[in-house]
Symmetry: C2
Subunit: 211 residues, 2 copies
């Protein structure tokens, strides 16, 4: 299943949660499409990919669809993540995810500044970066979040991968070199802002939903 499909499924899930909380029991593809900002055909194709079928008269059952998407996206036994770099951005992300997702939780933070280590920040225990190998192994951490300066990002990535991390969400403005079996997603705020600034001047191109 492709990169983009997974991203859209994640979006659908959040929307479906909202619908279920509002008491909505079924939904049509075009409704989801309108809320997610994509096409109805895309929605139907994506939902077929998770093996769930709708019915022509009722559309898709919200609860059953949530279960199907969850079965595809979530690890049954849950997954643990670690964040490296407790600066402004790191703290913001810790605060955002603290106790939010039962199936995917940030269980450890790391920093090289000893004024930050060995205490709890935004609800998350902060360790020295030297302990990455040990803490990642002990806690079966599979996902790493990198919020250190660009100059340190590659070294941190190497440590994380060496300790067993298989996927990295990278906020540092640097292209990480990792083994081909490691998944890296780089969120480059500077690049995104420059893109927005460019198209703010030049006019928006045909819309697209990449995620």
């Amino acid at each position: 299943m492709s990169d983009r499909v997974i991203g859209r499924l994640s979006v659908y899930r959040r929307l479906l949660h909202g619908l279920r909380d509002s008491g909505v029991q079924s939904v049509y593809s075009h409704q989801l499409a309108s809320m997610a900002g994509c096409t109805a055909a895309q929605v139907r194709r994506d939902l077929m990919a998770v093996g769930y079928s709708g019915t022509p008269t009722r559309g898709y059952d919200v609860s059953a669809l949530l279960a199907s998407i969850g079965a595809h996206l979530d690890a049954p036994e849950g997954q643990n993540a670690a964040l490296v770099g407790v600066g402004n951005l790191g703290r913001a992300i810790l605060a955002f995810f603290a106790g939010r997702r039962p199936r995917l939780s940030i269980v450890a933070a790391f920093d090289s500044d000893h004024y930050k280590t060995n205490r709890v920040i935004q609800g998350c225990r902060c360790y020295p970066v030297e302990d990455i190998a040990q803490v990642v192994r002990n806690n079966r951490i599979e996902v790493g979040i990198i919020t250190v300066p660009a100059t340190e990002a590659q070294e941190v990535a190497d440590r994380l991968v060496g300790a067993g991390v298989r996927g990295i969400l990278n906020f540092a403005p640097a292209a990480l070199r990792v083994r081909p079996d490691i998944y890296v997603e780089t969120m480059d705020i500077t690049v995104s802002l420059e893109k927005v600034a460019f198209f703010a001047r030049r006019g928006a191109p045909k819309k697209e939903m990449a995620r």
Copy 2:
């Protein structure tokens, strides 16, 4: 010029700045490609798009290339941005961009919390959200950065667009509905983290550089 090309040009530019600071005068497409995490053919195609030609023996001249990319990406007279939502993430972004880019600067912040307004936060003046229309117009702000909760994002987007903003970088987990001539880029951290978690379990798909 497409969305992705602009993103890659922004990456090349940062790399070229680093090279120039190190005293490097010329560079080959495969060198840039290796640093940017894309293919040499992509680099050559992208650089042709900005109208700069290399030479077979020397490759591309770093300084001249920087000038060409800048001429395409930057507004000659500079551009102003505003950030709405001075929470943890908002402050992190303000701190990151404070006084960094002469051609693209965050000149105003907004928040609905009156304990935050009418003072300077991370080097940026913070106004009440009610003043968006006035401040955006007075400062010729074209770019908006949304770091408010999802429930408020659409209202903030409407205010920004109404005041004249043409491009939005949206960190709220919500699909914004705006006029088709407005460019919106949504950076959804939750979606990205779920993608990383998924591929950490399932194994990375063929690599791609979207930005």
